[in-house]
């Protein structure tokens, strides 16, 4: 078999049963791999009313047909589950080398279900799969557990997926790491893994990925590698990492300081990638087969945190645990990053939740009586770093915040006023980008993201962001150059639609979106070319994009089954109603709001979502070969629009 390994591993931790299941040609052709296969499993095996932390819930690790090959940045892994944070569909993906290793061990996917009686970890040595005792690594940071398991198994070259203490303590936004620092951050599957008493999965693979047309594949890869050498975006990402966005974000006003009360802040420059590279950068890191290498490794040299080290930083991780909570001192931000990594928490959700609590405190919704004496003043680094630990260990006020901002609002009884400041959609808080001025397609993507709203990595419509670095690209891809301007409405519906489908395919192949979205060195046509060369198939670009559309619709249908639709396609009120204040003199988006109501209809039109409910339409579902999904949704369409349903406020599920 070419590309795929053709089998998946199903592990039931309750019974200890381990099964190798073959994956048919039709199945592989329909769902490709990674995110596609995972989404299919989650839709079909995890009922919408099941508690995400129930033993019967599934957690899937998927890789694609391209994983482990020479295709640029082909080492990613998608982790999917029913999210304990949002209660809806959730997935996230991570780089590192584990994905490739899993492929070399001969698997396209791992499904874990059930719950072990005591802490265990999984040891996959090619065909040999073993459930082993993890009592000695339970409670350990990933960096310690990684080393201990490697020594125990007698091989330092294996790759391990691990959760930290936060996952063990069922923090609802706990994440998963592989290679110690490569996190699949969002949606909280770390808690699902923790709820199964599973500490991690160690893998050793001694196989190879077979290529159908090696000569052709080598030529495509070689061409793309040469393209990367001169790619404008790649230069930034390699030299200064994703923190190269900081200075841009400050100038364009989308850094979201103090829980998005401010778009730009003069002090944010100190945490820019340019500064980082000359102060604490130890060296640059690359995930498997990556021509970009945006990864960093940091070693703090002076101040109270001197001697601390760890992978990162990265833009989306640093902004929420920095400017969003009012902290601008770079070493403090790197310290927060190292802390969240050690405990194994999503930095975005962690920072977002603390920022929310700080705004509640600012507005008098909570006081030191609620917080156990913690003074949640903006920029109080001592409290921020203390809270990170308290959240991970579920101590005191941290226990409330460990359920995420929306649930915390309910636990504290703050009502609608409290929910207003959570800056979230469908229970997940915003990443570090403010759509006012950042881009209208980007903002639309936040409202409709299928892994909980507010997510930048769902549509990632960078045609409007980095598109300007590639003149003529918008015309080439969507037939119109106008959408390249971030703050225009023209073409943004199609732009979001196209990029969302394209991103779904990128996740199915499990290649990094920095090769196809931020940088445009790899276009859809190139992906189809290498996909065909590896697998020996001959699918066209149109067929390729239809698969992406199928996956987006299936995930959307998961939400529809939970009666989440058009009314929930919103973004935090602040972006719509509060004009952007001035933060720095040359800020470009002062006075701007984000007109979500103007951009959504265009998107719906291309998606063919039902205009009454926002559910995927029956005709589109059937066209995409999802007849069974259409059947599931049929009785729910009328139910969604009943008065009782309309009155319900749904912050999470």
């Amino acid at each position: 078999m070419y590309g795929w390994s053709g089998k998946r591993l199903r592990v039931n931790l309750t019974t200890g049963e381990i099964k190798h299941e073959p994956l048919s040609y039709e199945y592989r052709r329909k769902w490709i791999g990674g995110r596609g296969m995972n989404s299919e499993v989650i839709y079909n095996e995890v009922p919408p009313n099941l508690d995400p932390l129930d033993p019967e819930a599934r957690v899937c690790f998927g890789v694609g047909p391209i994983s482990g090959t020479a295709a640029p940045a082909s080492g990613r892994v998608t982790v999917s589950c029913k999210s304990p944070l949002t209660g809806g569909f959730g997935d996230s993906n991570m780089g590192g080398h584990w994905g490739a290793e899993l492929k070399y061990a001969g698997y396209d996917q791992i499904i874990v279900q059930g719950k072990a009686k005591k802490p265990v970890y999984l040891w996959i040595d090619d065909d040999k799969v073993e459930i082993r005792d993890a009592a000695h690594v339970w409670g350990k940071f990933p960096r310690e557990a990684d080393q201990m398991i490697k020594q125990e198994l007698g091989d330092e070259d294996i790759h391990i997926v691990l959760i930290g203490p936060a996952g063990e303590n069922l923090v609802r936004f706990a994440c998963t790491f592989n290679d110690v620092y490569r996190a699949a951050g969002r949606t909280g599957h770390g808690a699902v893994i923790g709820s199964k008493n599973l500490k991690g999965i160690a893998v050793r693979g001694s196989g190879t990925v077979k290529i159908a047309r090696p000569k052709e594949f080598f030529d495509v890869c070689n061409r793309l590698r040469q393209t990367f050498k001169n790619d404008p975006m790649r230069k930034f990402l390699y030299e200064i990492g994703s923190l190269s966005l900081i200075n841009v974000a400050v100038h364009d006003g989308w850094i979201g300081a103090n829980n998005f009360q401010q778009g730009a802040h003069p002090d944010a420059h100190f945490m820019s990638g340019e500064e980082h590279s000359t102060t604490v950068l130890k060296h640059r890191e690359g995930c498997f087969s990556c021509p970009i290498c945006c990864g960093r490794f940091t070693e703090i040299k002076e101040g109270p945190y001197a001697g601390e080290y760890g992978g990162g930083p990265e833009y989306e991780h640093s902004v929420p645990t920095g400017p969003r909570v009012g902290v601008f001192e770079p070493n403090a931000i790197w310290h927060n990053m190292i802390l969240t990594n050690n405990y194994g928490m999503d930095g975005i959700e962690c920072g977002g939740t603390i920022a929310t609590a700080m705004e509640w405190y600012q507005r008098g919704l909570i006081t030191t009586k609620d917080t156990g004496g913690l003074e949640l003043e903006w920029g109080n680094q001592e409290v921020v770093s203390k809270l990170i630990g308290m959240m991970a260990m579920r101590e005191g006020f941290g226990d409330i915040l460990a359920d995420g901002a929306s649930r915390a609002a309910d636990r504290l009884g703050l009502g609608d006023e409290g929910h207003k400041y959570t800056m979230s959609t469908r229970g997940m808080t915003m990443p570090g980008d403010d759509p006012r001025g950042l881009g209208f397609a980007y903002g639309t993507g936040f409202a409709i993201g299928t892994r909980g709203g507010c997510d930048h990595l769902r549509a990632l419509p960078s045609l409007e962001l980095s598109g300007f670095m590639y003149p003529g690209l918008n015309t080439k891809i969507i037939g119109d150059e106008r959408p390249v301007k971030p703050t225009t409405i023209v073409g943004k519906g199609y732009c979001t639609f196209y990029e969302e489908n394209q991103k779904a395919m990128t996740d199915c192949l499990n290649v990094c979106c920095f090769t196809t979205h931020w940088s445009f060195a790899v276009l859809t046509a190139d992906q189809v070319e290498y996909f065909n060369a590896v697998t020996g198939m001959d699918i066209t670009e149109e067929e390729f994009m239809v698969i992406g559309e199928r996956i987006v619709n299936l995930e959307r249908a998961y939400w529809s089954r939970m009666l989440s639709g058009k009314r929930e396609d919103t973004i935090p009120e602040r972006y719509v109603k509060e004009p952007m204040p001035q933060g720095v003199p040359d800020q470009t988006n002062v006075g701007m709001t984000f007109p979500i109501q103007k951009t959504l209809p265009g998107y719906y039109k291309y998606r063919d979502y039902d205009l009454e409910t926002g559910f995927p339409s029956e005709r589109r579902l059937k066209m995409l070969g999802l007849d069974y999904v259409a059947k599931d949704l049929a009785p729910l369409r009328a139910k969604y629009n009943t008065d009782a349903e309309k009155k319900k406020k749904k912050y999470y599920y």
Binding site: A70, Y181, K210, G286, S289, P291
Partner: protein
């Protein structure tokens, strides 16, 4: 030392991405994997260290010296130590003798295989061509050494300049 080209490794620049590994295996074997690569990357994830190891084309190659059949021998015209698969008996002596551990046994044939500098490829060895950070370069060691010495001089000049300004 002549001005002939060789693979030069600059460890501090290695990001550990293994672009070299997948490129090498695909170019030579038409499949992708660490076990069929002629170059290897060793990583320590916790401390973020990576180390790339490939053939250094030793002048007095230990692999050739221990080969009992003459399969592993220096092709003097090309300046490349090669392994002739037909003569190789798969005894692993060369693999064990290599000071860098970069000779492997092929999982299909059971015979030894090693770097051949992608002989015949116009753009030079794939590993150096695809390396995103410049950790592997295909250059003349003489020129690389000269650059290294010059860098020392520049350091002194800059220190002197800084002293004047300060």
């Amino acid at each position: 030392m002549s001005n002939g080209k060789a693979l030069v490794y600059t460890q501090e620049k290695c990001t550990g991405c293994r672009s070299c590994v997948v490129g090498c295996s695909l170019y030579h074997d038409g499949e992708c994997g660490k076990v069929v690569s002629r170059v290897a990357v060793v990583r320590n994830e916790r401390f973020g260290e990576s180390f790339v190891v490939g053939c250094d084309m030793c002048t007095d190659a230990p692999c050739a010296a221990v080969c009992p059949t003459g399969a592993c021998a220096m092709d003097t015209a090309a300046g490349i130590t090669k392994i002739n698969a037909e003569k190789c008996i798969g005894c692993k002596e060369c693999a064990m003798a290599c000071p860098f551990g970069v000779i492997n046994m092929h999982y299909k044939t059971g015979k030894a295989f090693k770097c051949d500098l992608c002989e015949g490829r116009d753009a030079g060895p794939v590993c150096a061509d695809w390396c995103p950070s410049g950790a592997i370069s295909y250059t003349s060691p003489n020129i690389a050494l000269k650059a290294k010495r010059r860098a020392k001089l520049m350091e002194r000049l800059e220190a002197a300049k800084a002293g004047e300004e300060g």
